[in-house]
C-alpha cells in the first residue's frame, strides 16, 4: 500500500524511515514543499559521474572487477551552482540524491521500502532519472543513484539542489527473511 504524505511524515517521526537532511512538512523553501499527496520529492546532489569519452569497449558483466572498471571509465564533475550542468540530447550521466535514505529493518516494527520515480516537469522535457532499477529495498542506507538520460531534442540544464525525482513509499507486508535457516524445511514457496 502506498503511503500518504501524513503516513510518510509519521514514519519519519517514528524513525522507521530516516532521511538526511530531514524534510520538513511545514516549511517551504524557494522551490516549495517536498511532500506531495503520496510521495516525497528529492533533490539532485552536487556531483555527476560522466563517461570519460565515447570509447570502443563492451561491458562484460561476467568478468570480475566491474566496479573498478566503471570508476575508471567515468570522472567526477561538480555541478556549477550558478550555471548548472547542460545535459545534451542523447547523453547519459550518473548522479545521486542530496538526501540519504535509510530504511532500517526493525524487529517487531514496521519496515518500509520505496520506488524512485521521475517528476512530470522533467519528463515533459525528456529527462529520465532512472532506468530499470527503481526499488529502494528495506534495509537500504545511502544516497540514491540517479541514471540521468536526456531523451529530448534539446539540452536540459541541471542544477544541484533542484527537486529532480520523487520517492513513492510502501509498507512491507510480512516478516523479512534473511537467513537460510528461516527457510528450513521448505523446498517450495508453499513450504512443501
Amino acid at each position: 500500500m502506498i503511503l500518504s504524505n501524513s503516513e510518510i511524515f509519521k514514519a519519519l517521526k517514528d524513525g522507521y524511515i530516516i532521511i538526511s537532511p530531514a524534510p520538513d512538512i511545514l516549511s517551504l523553501d524557494k522551490l516549495g514543499n517536498p511532500f506531495n499527496t503520496t510521495s516525497l520529492d528529492l533533490r539532485l546532489g552536487d556531483t555527476l559521474s560522466i563517461p570519460i569519452k565515447d570509447q570502443p569497449f563492451s561491458y562484460d558483466l561476467r568478468k570480475g572487477g566491474i566496479a573498478s572498471f566503471l570508476k575508471k571509465m567515468h570522472e567526477r564533475h561538480p555541478i556549477n551552482k550558478e550555471g548548472g550542468f547542460t545535459l545534451e540530447p542523447g547523453k547519459f550521466v550518473l548522479s545521486n540524491t542530496m538526501e540519504k535514505i535509510h530504511f532500517p529493518i526493525t524487529e517487531g516494527g514496521p519496515c518500509y521500502c520505496a520506488r524512485v520515480e521521475g517528476r512530470s516537469s522533467y519528463a515533459r522535457i525528456g529527462l529520465l532519472v532512472h532506468f530499470t532499477a527503481p526499488t529502494i529495498h528495506a534495509g537500504f542506507n545511502g544516497t540514491i543513484t540517479l541514471e540521468l538520460m536526456n531523451f529530448g531534442n534539446n539540452a536540459i540544464v541541471l542544477y544541484p539542489g533542484d527537486y529532480i525525482c520523487q520517492l513513492i513509499f510502501e509498507k512491507v507486508c510480512g516478516e523479512i527473511i534473511l537467513t537460510p535457516s528461516q527457510f528450513q524445511g521448505q523446498t517450495t514457496p508453499e513450504g512443501k
Partner: protein, 87 residues
C-alpha cells in the same frame, strides 16, 4: 530476523559518486565480485566492508553484502572464505 554483523576483507577505492566507495571482494571460489557501497558500510582505513553473516561453516561463510555486485549472476548473498570475515 536479527543478523550478526561482520566485516569482510576487501579492496577499497574512491567511488563513482560522493558518499560511496568502490569495493572489490573475493568469493570462496576465487572469483572477484565488486560493488559500490555507501560510506556507512565501509572502513577504508582497514579495507573492510560491513556485511550480515547469514551462515558460518569452518572454512566458508555466507554473507549478505550491502549492495548488489555488478558482476552478472552474483547475488547479494555470497559465499566467501571464513578467513576473510572479521567478527
Amino acid at each position: 530476523m536479527a543478523l550478526r554483523e561482520g566485516w569482510l576483507k576487501c579492496q577499497v577505492s574512491e567511488g563513482m559518486l560522493p558518499e560511496e566507495y568502490t569495493v572489490e571482494c573475493n568469493s570462496s571460489d576465487g572469483n572477484t565480485f565488486s560493488f559500490f557501497a555507501s560510506q556507512e558500510h565501509v572502513d577504508p582505513a582497514h579495507e573492510l566492508v560491513k556485511v550480515n553473516i547469514m551462515d558460518r561453516q569452518s572454512d566458508s561463510c555466507l554473507v549478505y553484502v550491502p549492495s548488489a555486485p555488478l558482476e552478472g549472476g552474483v547475488s547479494r548473498t555470497v559465499k566467501v572464505s571464513s578467513k576473510d570475515v572479521v567478527g
